[in-house]
Amino acid sequence: MDDLLNEFLTETGESIDVVDVELVKLEQDPNNKEVLDNIFRLVHTIKGTCGFLGLPRLESVAHASENVLGKFRDGELQVNEHAVTVILESLDRIKEILAGLEATEEEPEGDDSDLISRLDAIAEGKAAAATPAAAEVQEPEVEDGEIIDPGLGRALKPGEVSLEELEAVFQNTPGPEEEGASADTSASAGADSSLFDRLGGEDTVAVVAHLLAQRLGNDKSLSKFFAGTSDEQLKDKFTGLMLSLFKDDIDSAEAVSQTLVTASGLADANFSALLEMVKAVLVECGVDGDAADEATMSFELIRDGVIGSSKAIAPTKQEPGKEKATAAGTESKRTSQSIRVSVDLLEELMTMVSELVLTRNQLLQIVRNMESSELSVPLQRLSQCTTELQENVMKTRMQPIGNAWAKLPRIVRDLTVELDKKINLEMLGADTELDRQVLELIKDPLTHMVRNSADHGIELPAVRIASGKPETGTITLDAYHEGGHIIMEIRDDGAGISVSKLSEKILEKGLATEAELAEMSDNQIQKFIFHPGFSTAAKITSVSGRGVGMDVVRTNIEKIGGTIDMKSTEGKGSVFQIKIPLTLAIVAGLIVEASGERYAIPQISVVELVRASQNSEHRIEKIKDTPVLRLRNRLLPLVYLNEVLGFETRENLEGKESDDFIVVVQVGAFTFGIVVDQVFDTEEIVVKPVAPILKDLSVYSGNTILGDGSVIMILDPNGIANIANSGGVETAHSSEQAQEEASQRMKSEDQEAMLVFRAGGKNPKAVPLALVARLEDIEVKDIEQSDDKLMVQYRGNLMPLVKAHPDIELSEDGRQPVLVFTDREYTMGLVVSEILDIVDESLKIELASNKQGVMGSAVIDGKATEVIDVSFYLNQAFDDWLKSKDMNDATAPTAGGSVLLVDDSDFFRNMLRPVLSVAGFSVRTVSTPAAALGLRDEGFDFDLIISDIEMPEMNGYEFAKEVRSGGAWENTPMIALSSLATEKDIKRGRDAGFNDYVAKFDKETLLRSISQQLKIQGDAA
């Protein structure tokens, strides 16, 4: 069922129960203002919610009751029994409708006009107003000084006889006469005509049934037996009953009688009272006495049936008159499904459970140290129960984030109408669970942000079409877990945040000076929207723009320990990211040791444990100063916990001859190993936040008390990764950082890790490490010679080996170091004499060498080193690898210029980068056209673009067309680079917008072409 409706049902059910009780109280103490206020408030709430949910029937009934209550409250009406009864009746009607709602999720059909009119009548002061239906047969006028009949609980209607009198009449009436012997005054029917005809036919029956239904409803002593049956239903039942009775159809009469009453306890006396009422009504309707008597007598036929059926009904339903059986039944079902518990209680429970978990751990620790204790079995059981208890208590607090989103589609819908926009709201990860308290707290900020996106972000359809976007804007909500945090993203594809407009505003408000602004990045300027008192909407709409928005959002999120971040690209849209930590939570933690101190690492980020020693398969190796571990054909960067925490220096650590335990952890997409001294077991730990003074220490995410009572710190793998990388790895999604680091990265990308090796000759040789797929030691005896070529069986294939230098002599036996290069399906091994080191140096290749197989030479680690040209060797190994042209005349390097290189092949990218660097260009490489276009949108500018043609997703031609179609790079020269270099291809390339077309790895032509293009560009400018 719809959550909203469900919530409403529970809540309204509760309110009604309270009103029931309170009303009775009020009746006893009509002057109790407090009770009255309470009732009024509850009914008002019910009315309000009904209106909100679009339940007109409920709303109108509640509204009418509220009116009456309002009069009571204002002192315009005295509280009297009759009014209370009618209000109670309306409550019952509400319950009835609620029951229908619960069963079908729709308001049941029905007519409440008479109830409402009675309520209205009371509100207007006509306490005894006749119902419209009754008015058909009776005088509607009400006279002053009316008599209240105690039996009926209301004033008598004109022409009506009080029950006492009827009783008296009944008593005095002689036994029923078989035939209508006496003269009938009004009925046209003869003595021998059937009872039905004598009573006046169907019309009379209908009227009688109607009146009966009405009066039964008002008669307190009888109405309870018909609880759960609406007046309308009752009327139908009586009509059916009378028709069958008066037509001597005893079978159907019996059948109807079985269903007549809905509550138990209908005694003989009650049935007699019912008969009296029937008779009175008959008389009222103008049926002559004898016929009325006879008709009444016919009811005796079903006396036993009705009383019997009443007995059959479970006595539990014998509630006070106001309880209707069906409503009561479903209500209990509802309450058994969910109850409301105060959050404080849950909070307390959670704390208790946390303590219980800690104590359990303590016990476990003690028992672990005792040998064969009889405690262990019960303790195990206790442990299990505790775990389950803990899980369940946690669950009580967790709610899917979708709950906080439930109202958003409606809000967005309303906004689209109000703002005349077309917006599509997408919600992803709605079942991501988070603590309900946190959920409550982010509800409002979220709503606010979605409103903002709809109002400020998404443009009007016309504007969108004009800027080439689909008419309908999209707002995407996305939620997911990441490393103990919940990340929520609100994305829109709207206009983004205009930096120029924002700057004006900032200046106008004096939040920053022009000089300050000039130094800020776009993103920093955009962050001003979080500044107190800021709004960019040109005009204030009813939706947003009062300038308290994002500031409040940020404060609210920070209050719960979260962070908010945003990234916006003008014309493309904005992304807001909210990160909320799970502060109070029990998590599994791996306990490790470093320098005698224990630490916990959240199990969730631990991928595996590896034990490394000098002699085992896993051994920590070093690439210069960087410790790495070979793990299943991957190099795993390592971090020494001792070093991170400042216990020991690297030299000391590496000098140690001990086994190392490596905890492989994953943070986002980054996997690395933490080297620790010892690994203990996993324990359930309650994460407690660290003291405020330690907040700045990013290596800890909290602390906890272990089973043995000692306090230990919980390490934050994210923080350690950051320290290990000093910001080099994008562990966090922080776009701000990314932006700010962008320029730094440009620089650091110039730094190439170079693998330095020795291969003949005096000078060491080097190759960009990125090009090397693997380092292998190959048994010399495995090397085979075929057709003048060296081969080795490698991973089930024959891999050609090429000597890095003709002078290299293969050693007789033992192992030969080999660098393995891979490009697509080609794999080759480069035989070298010795692998020396890996250095991280900025690649300043001194001069382009003309020597075959050498790209140039560079000073690496203080020594002149030849940088080899891998393509040369690849050509040697594979004839079908791209035919490289002779590298005769080195192209004169053209100094300066920034070049963007787009190629999906890692190999080519890494290959060309040094080539271009040698030629004096600053090079930026990306692997896909999409990434390139991303750079364009981020505002990067290049003097020239070199693009591959054969690329997945978007090929070079498409890329060129895209670039030429507009944007910042519209006029940037482009060079196509492809192994498909036929006449046709070249033409196609030019048509697509490439300025030149160069065959892949025609180094000189490429360089020449670059200088040519840059020159043309320069001349044009």
């Binding site: 101190e597 003291a691 330690l694 906890t704 008390i705 000692s710 306090v711």
Partner: protein
């Protein structure tokens, strides 16, 4: 109390009412901590060190299920570090609902001090002391600086000032 108020009014230096303080010894110096601020007095505890934390944070300890941050008062006040083997005690105070345990050498006595003996910090007092002391009581035999727990533990503020 009435006569005290009169006395206070007549005295220009005294602004504080009479208060009770716990005296603690720290590297030969006696300090006072308002008794109402003291939650616990503990003997030496097992303290878990926190690498990378400021030098005056000696670690965290478990006080009946609560994690308490231990502050090395000597380091905080610029006194020479405790020698190995020297005993220590701690006084647990709270600041912003966070418990802190102040590491001291030993606890002295509880004194009820009259406001008339109170005096503001002399201007010549070392800055570090002046920052963490509300004032000084002139006792017969010695002077008793009173620790201002709030200022002592207001690290964020201190960091900003620095």
């Amino acid at each position: 109390m009435n006569d005290l108020v009169v006395k206070q009014n007549s005295s220009l230096v005294a602004v504080e009412e009479a208060q009770e303080v716990v005296t603690v010894n720290l590297a030969g110096q006696v300090l006072g901590i308002p008794v109402l601020e003291v939650h616990d007095v503990l003997n030496a505890q097992q303290i878990t060190k926190i690498p990378l934390s400021p030098e005056w944070v000696s670690g965290v300890l478990n006080l009946r299920g609560r994690i308490v941050t231990a502050i090395d008062l000597r380091a905080r006040l610029g006194l020479p570090p405790r020698e190995d083997g020297e005993k220590s005690m701690s006084v647990v105070v709270e600041y912003n609902d966070e418990p802190y345990s102040l590491q001291i050498d030993s606890v002295g006595e509880v004194l009820r001090l009259d406001g008339s003996m109170f005096e503001r910090n002399p201007v010549t007092l070392e800055q570090r002391w002046r920052n963490v002391s509300t004032g000084i009581y002139r006792l017969e035999k010695q002077l008793l600086p009173i620790l201002d727990v709030e200022k002592l533990l207001d690290f964020e503020g201190a960091a900003k000032a620095a």
